[in-house]
Structures are given as structure tokens and as C-alpha cells.
């Protein structure tokens, strides 16, 4: 059982009792392979008998649709966007993640508050303010940061996926470059700087994502196994001591 720890003030009405699940975060910039690795981790965990739910940005019942619609236009203001994302996050935290953790699930989340904080920082939003807003966030059991050195690496991945450059992923609202390509590279470069800054602050487990998928996946599994097996070992010890006391009682 972990005692729930929050970065700031916990949301009101959230039970303070411990939970037996694990909150595992996959973070990284756009195109770094987060969704691929999240899916792979999920099947691996399920194969080992763990119940898993995964979640990610803009997937909340409350705000997901509205946020996606707001992003189809270009009138979404800087602060409005941050707060809309925070609403989406809080809904998933309170209604998806926390209940699943209490029920003993492994919760895999594709991005957490760190992407939101990085995006806010790149847009000149007060870093203390955005951290205070996300003070309601639960401190995860593990934060895996998929890191690439240079934004150019991400470009080839976007191209390989057959997607077009996305307006927001390219930071087009910031007027950073003449076109989507220039803007994408500049925007993602700035995000990488912010992620590096946060690595120490939040204790990211940094994984070099420039390597082949197979090797990255192996690293991720090893890190996840450590977090999960620490608990399984504790379970066994507990089981053993129960057995021992039964024998003594008899």
C-alpha cells in the first residue's frame, strides 16, 4: 500500500487512504514513441497478470471533446489552453486514475503534468503558477522520460508515421518559424530544454529513446518490473509471516 502523495494540496473529497496500484507515467515530446511503448508495456504487464488501464491527454469524459473542438480553431488563448488541459487532467485523475489505483490496477499514462508544464513554460506562462495549478496531481510511482537529443530526430518519426505536421505540435501559435517544419523543430527544441530542466526536479527515469524500439522497450520493462516487483516481494514476505504466525498459534 502506498500512501497517496500529492505535489501540492490534494483535491478536496479525495480519500487519504492508501492504494495498492501503481501509477506509471510515460513522458516525452511529440513523436518520441510514447504511444507505441505504452501499448507494448500494457501487453507485457497483462501477460504477467497485472490489470492495466491506460489514459492520456484529452481523453477525459468531462473535457476531452470540448478541448479537441477548441483545438480545431486557432482562437484558444494561452492561459485558457493551460486551464482546459488542467481540467481534463483533474477529471481523469479523480475519476479514472485514483479509482483504478485503489482497485490495484497498474495505471499507465501517456503524458502527465510534465508535458503540460513544459508547454506552458515554452509559452511564457509563469512556471510557479502552472505548478500550483497542478498541485492537485498525485506523485507517480515511476516517471519514464523518453528522451531524444535533437528535435530533428522527431521529424523523421513524424514523417515515418505518415501524419502531417500538427498545428499545436508545431507550436504554430507561437510564430516561431516561417512554416510548420521550422516551427516544429524550434518548438520541440524548446520543449526538450524544459523536459531536461524537469528531469531532476521530478526525478525522471531518463531512457535514451534514440535507440531501436526493442532496446528502449527492454529498458522500460526493467524499470517497471523493479517498481512492481518491490511490491510483489513485500507481498510474499507478508504471506510468509502470516503462515509462520499460524504455525506458532497452532
Amino acid at each position: 500500500m502506498s500512501e497517496p502523495k500529492f505535489y501540492g494540496t490534494p483535491p478536496p473529497g479525495v480519500a487519504r487512504e492508501g492504494y495498492s496500484g501503481k501509477l506509471i507515467v510515460i513522458e516525452g515530446t511529440d513523436g518520441v514513441g510514447r504511444s507505441t511503448h505504452t501499448a507494448m508495456l500494457r501487453s507485457w504487464l497483462e501477460a504477467r497478470g497485472h490489470a492495466v488501464i491506460d489514459t492520456g491527454m484529452t481523453r477525459s469524459v468531462l473535457a476531452g471533446r470540448g478541448l479537441k473542438e477548441a483545438k480545431t480553431g486557432t482562437t484558444l488563448g494561452r492561459l485558457t489552453m493551460q486551464l482546459f488541459y488542467a481540467t481534463d487532467f483533474a477529471d481523469r485523475l479523480e475519476n479514472e486514475m485514483l479509482p483504478a489505483l485503489r482497485a490495484g490496477f497498474v495505471v499507465l499514462t501517456d503524458r502527465y503534468i510534465y508535458s503540460a508544464i513544459a508547454r506552458a513554460a515554452v509559452r511564457g506562462v509563469d512556471p510557479r503558477w502552472i505548478r500550483s495549478v497542478y498541485g492537485v496531481a498525485l506523485v507517480p510511482d515511476l516517471i519514464l522520460y523518453l528522451r531524444v537529443q535533437r528535435a530533428e530526430e522527431l521529424v523523421s518519426r513524424v514523417l515515418a508515421s505518415g501524419r502531417k505536421f500538427d498545428y499545436w505540435e508545431s507550436g504554430m501559435d507561437l510564430n516561431l518559424g516561417a512554416d510548420f517544419y521550422d516551427s516544429f523543430v524550434e518548438y520541440q527544441t524548446r520543449l526538450l530544454v524544459e523536459f531536461d530542466r524537469m528531469a531532476g526536479e521530478y526525478g525522471f527515469r531518463v531512457v535514451d529513446a534514440s535507440r531501436p524500439i526493442r532496446r528502449v522497450a527492454a529498458d522500460l520493462r526493467r524499470a517497471v518490473a523493479r517498481v512492481i516487483e518491490a511490491d510483489e516481494a513485500a507481498d510474499k514476505t507478508e504471506g510468509a509471516s502470516v503462515a509462520a504466525s499460524t504455525i506458532t498459534d497452532g
Binding site: 501540492g8 494540496t9 483535491p11 478536496p12 473529497g13 469524459v61 468531462l62 473535457a63 471533446r65 470540448g66 478541448l67 473542438e69 477548441a70 482562437t75 484558444l76 488563448g77 494561452r78 492561459l79 485558457t80 493551460q82 486551464l83 482546459f84 488542467a86 481540467t87 483533474a90 477529471d91 479523480e94 475519476n95 511564457g124 506562462v125 509563469d126 503558477w129 500550483s132 495549478v133 498541485g135 492537485v136
Partner: protein, 224 residues
């Protein structure tokens, strides 16, 4: 991001606050008419009116999806959109902006719902400090009576039924409004709210309001 109290904008921002049924919207509408007749450029902005957020709020209320935290965050999102779109640009242009409910509504309601006082205040740190924030103070029974008798049924969140204080809508509404009023009273000195006695006649209240507003506009004209 410019923090509360740090904006330097040539326009004037007048806001009205108070519990439901305090008569603040009536007073603001009268002020609006008067300022327009006097030839001032006036913009009006209302709580909960951002076109980007409206549909999400409507759905969430209907399907009862809110927790105190998401209620607070979505209203802050709505307010941020209005600040970025409807409040700061006209104030930059030197216009008068009138707001029916402002950040103090969120502070009162969200804290009444159990949100942390400091957290909610920080959430709205980007807000422009009003030139004057009028607080129409009505005793609890007067305000409750005006709302309950004037409307077919209290709505779920309006009555605070999400908080499980009482199964009875009217009872729950009373508890909720009592807590809200307590928060408003606490904010009078914290934020320098201008208290208007909402039990006085409509004409009397409006006269008082215009006198105060005029003082702020005259100061400007004398300087120009």
C-alpha cells in the same frame, strides 16, 4: 503572465458580486444603460459565457460530471478565455468593461465546496484587478427567498446538491448560500470589496453605485 494587481491598463473594470438573488445583475444593467447614455464605450462580460467552454460546462452539468476540483478548473478555463478575449483587449483600448460576477464568485463557491482557499486564489492569479468590485450584500433569508420564490426549481449544482449536505434542494441551497456568504464577508477586507446594502431600494443602490463609478471616471477625465 501578468499577476493580479500588476496590470497597467487605461480602461476601467467594474464588477458586481453577491449571492444569488442579491439584485446585482439588475444594478449592473442599470449602470450599463447609464454609461452608454453618457457616451462611454462600454463592454459587458458575464460569468460562464466563453464560447469555447460553454458546451463542455452544459454537458457536465446535465450529466453531473463535476467534482469540486473540475468544477473549479473548468470555470477558471471559462474565465481565462473571457479575460484573454473580452476583458483585457477593451481595457487596453481604454474602454469600460462591466462584469457580472468575477473571480470572487469562484473564490466563494469553490471554497464553499471544499477547495483550498490559497489554491483557488492562485488559480486566478492572471485576473485583472477591478477598478471597483461591488459586493451586493443581502441577508441570507432575503436572498434565498428571492431565488426560491422566483424560480420553478433549483438546479443540481446551483443548490449544491453535489455536496451531499442534504437531499432536500432548498435545504442544501440554504447551507450552500450560507457558506458562500461567509466567504464573501471574509473577502471584503482581503480584496477591498465595496459593500452595497442590497436591502435598500433599487434606486438608492443605483445612485450610490453611479456616484462611486463617476468618481473613477472623472479622475480620468480631469487628468486628460
Amino acid at each position: 503572465m501578468i499577476s493580479y494587481g500588476k496590470h497597467r491598463l487605461p480602461g476601467k473594470l467594474f464588477v458586481v458580486e453577491g449571492t444569488d438573488g442579491s439584485g446585482k445583475s439588475t444594478q449592473l444593467a442599470l449602470l450599463h444603460q447609464w454609461l452608454k447614455a453618457e457616451g462611454h464605450p462600454v463592454f459587458f462580460s458575464e460569468w460562464n459565457s466563453s464560447p469555447l467552454v460553454k458546451e463542455t460546462t452544459r454537458r457536465a452539468k446535465k450529466r453531473r460530471l463535476f467534482t469540486p476540483t473540475t468544477f473549479s478548473l473548468l470555470h477558471a478555463t471559462d474565465f481565462a478565455d473571457r479575460t484573454e478575449r473580452d476583458i483585457i483587449p477593451p481595457l487596453k483600448a481604454g474602454a469600460i468593461v462591466l462584469a457580472d460576477r468575477y473571480i470572487y464568485t469562484a473564490f466563494a463557491r469553490d471554497v464553499a465546496r471544499g477547495c483550498d482557499r490559497a489554491w483557488v486564489r492562485d488559480l486566478y492569479r492572471f485576473a485583472v484587478r477591478p477598478t471597483v468590485a461591488f459586493f451586493f450584500r443581502a441577508p441570507l433569508d432575503v436572498a434565498i427567498d428571492r431565488v426560491v420564490s422566483g424560480r420553478p426549481a433549483l438546479k443540481h449544482y446551483e443548490a449544491g446538491l453535489d455536496m451531499d449536505w442534504s437531499d432536500d434542494a432548498e435545504e442544501s441551497f440554504k447551507i450552500f448560500q450560507g457558506r458562500i456568504l461567509e466567504e464573501y464577508d471574509r473577502m471584503v477586507s482581503e480584496f477591498g470589496l465595496t459593500v452595497i446594502d442590497a436591502t435598500r431600494s433599487i434606486v438608492h443602490q443605483q445612485r450610490e453605485m453611479r456616484r462611486i463609478v463617476m468618481r473613477h471616471l472623472e479622475g480620468e477625465e480631469a487628468a486628460a
